[in-house]
């Protein structure tokens, strides 16, 4: 693999100075303050929805680079500490900035998806991710299209993995989703569609059946 381009990690949205910092972190981790890099990445993920979807890949690359160069995990530690702090204050984040909250959930799920430890997902993140998804499945969140969209998107991406790690919590989550779908009167029709789709998706073993694809997505390709 050659030198990672800007496009690969979507760092165009950072200012020039920060881009340079990140590039150096990837090439020569020992030369930068890795805890600062972790904070920069988390801060940006909470602002930029596009970045929060793909930041996991960049974080993984930095972790590998640091491990290879120095056998340390300063960056990973900083990243997880920050992630944990934001998690503990997530209710306030949601109140203060619904967009930031959605970005946070996207980010933590992305991290869970990409950052593996000896080919195993990070056990420590399983319950926190579930907690976030449970929050998104509460009635007040289901009334917000952005949050419903976030919920179903994350379930598409990491649902199957999460279920493997803890089946019971997934069952409970889907109880909430079904309840929301059936009982909430103020759901937008888009929200209803999204929830129904994810219910079917899971029922089909986290796969898209041709019939479901035709029903839900045929309009997209038209």
């Amino acid at each position: 693999m050659g030198e990672p381009g800007r496009e690969e990690y979507r760092i165009q949205s950072f200012d020039a100075e920060t881009q340079q910092l990140l590039k150096t972190a990837l090439k020569d981790p020992g030369a930068v303050d890795l805890e600062k890099v972790a904070n920069v990445i988390v801060d940006h993920s909470l602002q930029d929805r596009v970045f929060s979807k793909e930041a996991g890949r960049m974080c993984y690359a930095v972790i590998q680079a640091e491990s290879k160069q120095a056998g340390q995990s300063v960056f990973r530690r900083g990243l997880l500490n920050r992630l944990q702090q934001e998690y503990q204050a997530r209710e306030q984040l949601r109140a203060r900035s619904p967009r930031g909250w959605v970005c946070y959930v996207t980010f933590i799920c992305n991290i869970f998806d990409y950052l593996r430890v000896n080919n195993m997902p990070m056990m420590a993140l399983v319950n926190p991710v579930y907690d976030c998804l449970f929050r998104l499945a509460q009635p007040d969140s289901l009334s917000e299209e952005e949050e419903v969209d976030c919920l179903v998107l994350q379930l598409h991406r990491v649902g199957e993995q999460l279920e493997k790690m803890n089946r019971q919590r997934m069952d409970e989550l889907f109880v909430l989703i079904r309840d929301g779908f059936l009982l909430l009167t103020d759901l937008s029709s888009l929200a209803q569609l999204l929830l129904l789709e994810i219910i079917e998706f899971r029922a089909a073993g986290w796969k898209m059946t041709p019939a479901a694809h035709k029903y839900y997505y045929s309009e997209v390709s038209d």
């Binding site: 300063v74 000896n118 195993m120 926190p128 919590r169």
Partner: protein, 274 residues
């Protein structure tokens, strides 16, 4: 027929006790809600408890032999998991190595050579206690995380090592008493100091000679030769001055007082421990 509907025995008995409700799968016959959406009477099925209060404070997972405390700190939990999976791989590799060696030795004796080597520990004699292995691994990491070790392995490739002269990392998989192990570690680290990089000020840290490594595998701490006693005194000073690479910090409180950790770790990290 005027008899009450049959219920599975487990459900009947549970009704007598104040236990948590069985998972929904068993109630496929019963419905949680009426047609109008309202929940049925609480005593029949009971509401689903919020996930939070069902979560135990500690839990046993298939990989762990005993309950593991819920780690409050994600970063430390991940580091522990990483060590654990790495440890399991090492144990498997070591067991395989033992089997391969045993096969080799059997072949030799069949050919009639009187191998004078002591038989290798059978897999049954291995140290498998996870907490012991983790602690030992941490102690080994402290020693390997030094400039001295770096220079040593670069200077002396493994196949050129001579037993008794070149230090060898203590084998964490063998059964040793705590004292014996700690002593081996201490001697090993002292021996490694021979490869310390030259400091700018000439101090008598540089005057040390390689420790007689014949002491390494012995059990007792009382066997103190002259060199051992003097190098022990030196070692106390040297731990403070030992040039190290970026230190691998671990936040876990040891079950026994770890003097070396106290001497080598900056105080602020203790404050950070929850």
């Amino acid at each position: 027929m005027a008899c009450s509907p049959r219920t599975p025995p487990s459900y009947r008995s549970r009704g007598d006790r104040d236990a948590s409700p069985p998972p929904p799968a068993r109630w496929s016959l019963g419905r949680k809600r009426r047609a109008d959406g309202r929940q049925r009477a609480e005593d029949a099925e009971g509401p689903a408890k919020p996930a939070d209060c069902r979560r135990p404070d500690s839990f046993t997972t298939p990989e762990a032999p005993k309950p593991r405390p819920r780690c409050a700190d994600w970063a430390s939990a991940v580091e522990e998991d990483e060590m654990r999976t790495r440890m399991n791989k090492e144990i498997a590799r070591y067991k395989r190595k033992l089997l391969v060696n045993d096969c080799g030795r059997e072949r030799k004796s069949l050919l009639g050579s009187c191998g004078s080597k002591a038989p290798c520990a059978a897999p049954a004699d291995l140290e498998t206690d996870e907490s012991v292995l983790m602690r030992r691994q941490k102690q080994i990491n402290y020693g390997k995380n030094t400039m001295a070790y770096d220079r040593y392995i670069r200077e002396v490739p493994r196949h050129l090592r001579q037993p008794g002269i070149h230090p060898k990392t203590p084998n964490k998989f063998k059964k040793y008493s705590r004292r014996s192990w700690d002593q081996q570690i201490k001697l090993w680290k002292v021996a490694l100091h021979f490869w310390d990089p030259p400091t700018e000020e000439g101090c008598d840290v540089q005057e040390i000679h390689p420790v007689d490594l014949g002491e390494m595998e012995t059990e007792s701490a009382e066997s103190s030769s002259e060199s051992q006693a003097s190098s022990q005194d030196h070692s106390f000073d040297m731990y403070e001055g030992t040039p190290t690479k970026v230190r691998h910090l671990d936040c876990h409180v040891e079950d026994e007082f770890d003097l070396e950790a106290c001497l080598t770790e900056p105080l602020k990290d203790f404050a950070a421990m929850s």
